[in-house]
Symmetry: C2
Subunit: 132 residues, 2 copies
DNA sequence: GTACAACTTAAAGTTGACTTTAAGGCAAGG
DNA sequence: CCTTGCCTTAAAGTCAACTTTAAGTTGTAC
């Protein structure tokens, strides 16, 4: 019944076999059963990997994904786990966006205001400003 | 006259000495003159480093900063160099923001809509959706 | 004369998420 | 029997931007 080879699973999920081996090694996936030395997978493995992929696309690190799987009491519902992690990630993204917006503003300012001939001149101006 | 030691420069610019040595090694800074084996800097080095720091804070990679210094014809004015690089970085940031906004939306959707009891259930749903 | 601080170098280590490599195993087809 | 193709493992390599380490030099202070 568990007839899927690692490359078949990789193809269906859109990963390389080496990534799946890596997930197994770091304990994100349970150790797969072997048939004459080779890994064989069933659909539950596919579901696991689908979650991992989805979470990766949502910007979660493998450490955070590990937390999703193992960082809650057993009774905690999946939906609540997602909500907890998503809340944190949303706040992180908001801080990130604020940072990007600030940099964006600085870039526009430079484009509008810099009239330096030479980088040395430019560096001097920046250095003076740095000190105040 | 060029009396600044590497740690004095580092302190003024807000870097560690090892970073300055690293910049020299990768050719971002010219080789500093030595006094009995030790590097000594003058103000032009300070200005160079001020530019590098400013550019780093604007999200430029060291490769891009190298381009700022060496990637233009000699006659190209500093202001034009900044404008060229800033234009590119702005577009990059806009793409990045779009990506973050998309992820933000997905996170909110999950938080609002997921009602899964178990991660297996959740994974199954995700996997079904993946295939269409 | 010796301790100390600050410097020097080359090389290795750090982080995260893998990929690549090297060396080998196993089953099917011809 | 031999090739082909897919699989296995452990270990090393990748990227960026440094930092850390190890071993050694120099100048100054006591």
């Amino acid at each position: 019944m568990p007839g899927l080879t690692i490359s078949e699973v990789a193809r269906q999920i859109g990963l390389r076999p080496s990534a799946i081996r890596y997930y197994e090694k770091i304990g994100l996936l349970p150790r797969a059963m072997r048939m004459s030395g080779q890994r064989r997978y069933d659909t539950t493995a596919l579901y696991r990997l689908a979650i991992i992929q989805q979470a990766r696309e949502l910007g979660f690190t493998l450490t955070e994904i590990r937390h999703l799987f193992f960082g809650f009491r057993n009774v905690t519902r999946a939906s609540e786990r997602w909500r907890t992690l998503s809340q944190r990630k949303l706040e992180e993204l908001d801080r990130l966006m604020d940072g990007i917006r600030a940099v964006r503003g600085l870039l526009k300012k430079i484009m509008a205001n810099c009239r330096c001939d030479t980088l040395d001149q430019c560096g001097k101006d920046i250095f003076q400003n740095m000190k105040r």
